[in-house]
């Protein structure tokens, strides 16, 4: 599977309050409406500049803070196809997997804002086409790939009638 899009560069410790503030929780399950407020406390213009298929690129500990699952859902709704970061906070990592948002772990330090990147999920490489760079991505364990390929945890549950673990899987 190949993903291609423009990079929106963010820093370290992007917390879920920044991704979507708690006060917008009262919008119920209107993730499309919430997507207009994506990352607004950091950059009020970012949601307007995102085009379908784009990537968020960040440093360390992306998604730290609250367990709100609206965070990855709103990112997906805004049109982001994957996130590239040095590392992720664990609850956000699980939530993203469950809702089918791809989190890719790689060395993002040379990526610049606006670079065009092509991601090959078969070879686990990100090609920065703007800078002609090739960046290896840490492969995911088989059972996570299974959940992502099923489209998230809900379709995974429906397909397998529960958790479909792959014996001997380690992380």
């Amino acid at each position: 599977m190949i993903l291609k899009g423009k990079c929106h560069l963010l820093g370290d410790d992007i917390n879920t309050d920044y991704i979507i503030a708690s006060k917008y929780r009262s919008m119920g399950l209107d993730f499309k409406g919430m997507a207009k407020h994506l990352l607004e406390d950091l950059d009020p213009n970012i949601s307007n500049s995102i085009q379908k298929g784009d990537f968020l690129v960040a440093g360390r500990n992306f998604g730290c803070g609250s367990s709100r699952e609206f965070a990855p859902r709103v990112i997906l709704e805004a049109g982001i196809s994957a996130i590239l970061a040095l590392s992720y906070a664990r609850i956000f990592y699980r939530n993203s997997l469950n809702v089918g948002l791809r989190l890719l772990e790689c060395d993002t330090r040379s990526i610049r804002n606006g670079d065009i990147i092509e991601i090959d999920l078969k070879t686990w490489t990100a090609k920065d086409l703007t800078q002609d760079l090739s960046i290896p991505i840490k492969p995911l364990p088989p059972f996570m790939i299974q959940i992502l390929n099923d489209g998230g945890l809900v379709p995974h549950f429906k397909k397998w009638g529960g958790f479909h673990m792959i014996e001997g899987d380690r992380l």
Partner: protein, 418 residues
């Protein structure tokens, strides 16, 4: 090789011997959801086609995130959560009973050795009672409610050892802020913290809840305290049934060992806008502050209110300062009332609001004004966290908040403790 507390609890709950980095499919003892995240869980259960949760006796729902409801949309979310809990026959705590992280231990839902899954990042709090308690999102909660199970990576463990005692005016909150500042916001990412017998006996139960609560601010998956006489005494007043404390094996393997000398610690403050931006109070002393928050799931217990009341007794909150007190539960509120703590706080000029999450996450009352500085006992100081991205939040202990309330400036509480 021996096992850590986490490895033991997860082995017992997954029916096989597991160790760090193994994947476990574990049976859950208790599940928790609150008004802010449960409506999405209900939606996910519908999508899964699940009508009945696996065991209503193992599920608890709490209305705490905006109480009483500030608008009709929040009312609808709370109503939906309440109706779901009732229909399923699960435990339900309504508005004003308290914050989930206070209620579950206080009402006897938590015991040592349990595996608890809560739809809130600060679920780590229950580790103070030797439970492996983790925060998850709405879909994970739905899957666990449906199946009674959750997949987990068995975490590596960091052993934390304390030497000596905390000096006067320095509290568990200062200790955990100091640890987070030193190790950073991802210093324990994906790992469990284990607080052993060494040095822990000096830390009160309320202090242990504060520390386990904030473990997630350094990325920890769980924070486990060993059971000692303080734990047993605390539990004896809340649960009647027996329990089996889980201790680590003497030859268990730790990814890291952190040693902390408590005797040299001073009061700490986390500056805006990250929890790991921690400095000694002396470095920010004199910074003007306009609002104080005393309470929340981090520091809204009786001991916290008492420490603040001792400092505020016979004194007044600064004329241009709002001190908002949010007790962690109704039981805490009533105990504080009986002990005269509330009277002292009110006489000093504090404003008391209903037990709940209060102003911490900016979705109901107590939103600070533009350009204002807040000093808070809560656990997060992200920009916009309290509902206004033009305000700044400093995190500190109840004592530091009380001392700062008197001056309207960040103040070292040791100045008020003879």
């Amino acid at each position: 090789m021996g096992k850590t507390i986490s490895e033991k609890i997860l082995s017992l709950h997954s029916g096989k011997e597991v160790q760090a980095s193994d994947l476990a499919l574990a049976n859950v003892d208790l599940l928790m959801g609150h008004d802010w995240n449960t409506p999405l869980t209900i939606q996910v259960l519908k999508e899964m086609g699940v009508e009945r949760i696996f065991d209503p006796k193992k599920a608890v729902f709490v209305i705490d995130h905006a109480v009483p409801s500030p608008n009709e949309k929040v009312s609808a979310m709370q109503r939906e959560t309440e109706e779901f809990a009732r229909k399923q026959g699960a435990s339900l705590y309504l508005s004003g009973q308290g914050i989930c992280h206070q209620l579950l231990p206080e009402q006897g839902h938590i015991k040592p050795g349990m595996l608890v899954v809560g739809c809130d990042s600060h679920t780590t709090t229950y580790g103070a009672l030797n439970a492996f308690a983790i925060g998850v999102g709405s879909t994970d909660l739905a899957a666990a409610l449906a199946s009674g199970r959750i997949w987990l990576r068995v975490p590596e463990t960091i052993k934390v050892i304390f030497k000596n005692r905390l000096p006067k005016g320095v509290y568990a909150k200062d200790l955990i802020l100091n640890i987070i500042g030193r190790v950073t916001s991802e210093g324990a990412n994906y790992m469990a913290l284990e607080f052993g017998e060494d040095g822990v006996e000096e830390i009160s139960m309320d202090g242990r809840f504060t520390m386990a609560n904030m473990a997630v601010e350094m990325g920890a998956k769980a924070a486990l305290f060993e059971v000692d006489s303080k734990t047993r005494d605390w539990l004896s007043r809340r649960i009647s049934h027996s329990y089996e404390p889980i201790s680590p094996d003497p030859d268990s393997h730790y990814a890291k060992v952190w040693e902390w000398d408590l005797s040299s610690l001073v009061p700490q403050v986390a500056k805006p806008h990250n929890v790991d931006n921690v400095v000694p109070v002396t470095e920010v002393e004199g910074t003007e502050v306009h609002q104080g928050i005393l309470g929340t799931c981090t520091n809204g217990r009786v001991e916290d209110l008492k420490v603040a009341a001792e400092i505020l007794k016979g004194r007044k909150v600064f004329s241009d300062f709002r001190l908002i007190v949010v007790p962690a539960s109704k039981q805490v509120l009533m105990e504080a009332m009986r002990d005269g703590i509330l009277e002292t706080l009110l006489e000093a000029g504090a404003l008391i609001i209903p037990p709940g999450c209060g102003p911490c996450h900016g979705a109901s009352s107590g939103v600070p004004g533009d350009g204002e500085n807040v000093i808070s006992t809560a656990n997060r100081n992200f920009r916009g966290r309290m509902g206004n991205n033009k305000a700044s939040i400093y995190l500190a202990s109840p004592a530091t908040v009380a001392a700062s309330a008197i001056k309207g400036k960040i103040t070292d509480p040791r100045n008020y403790l003879g």
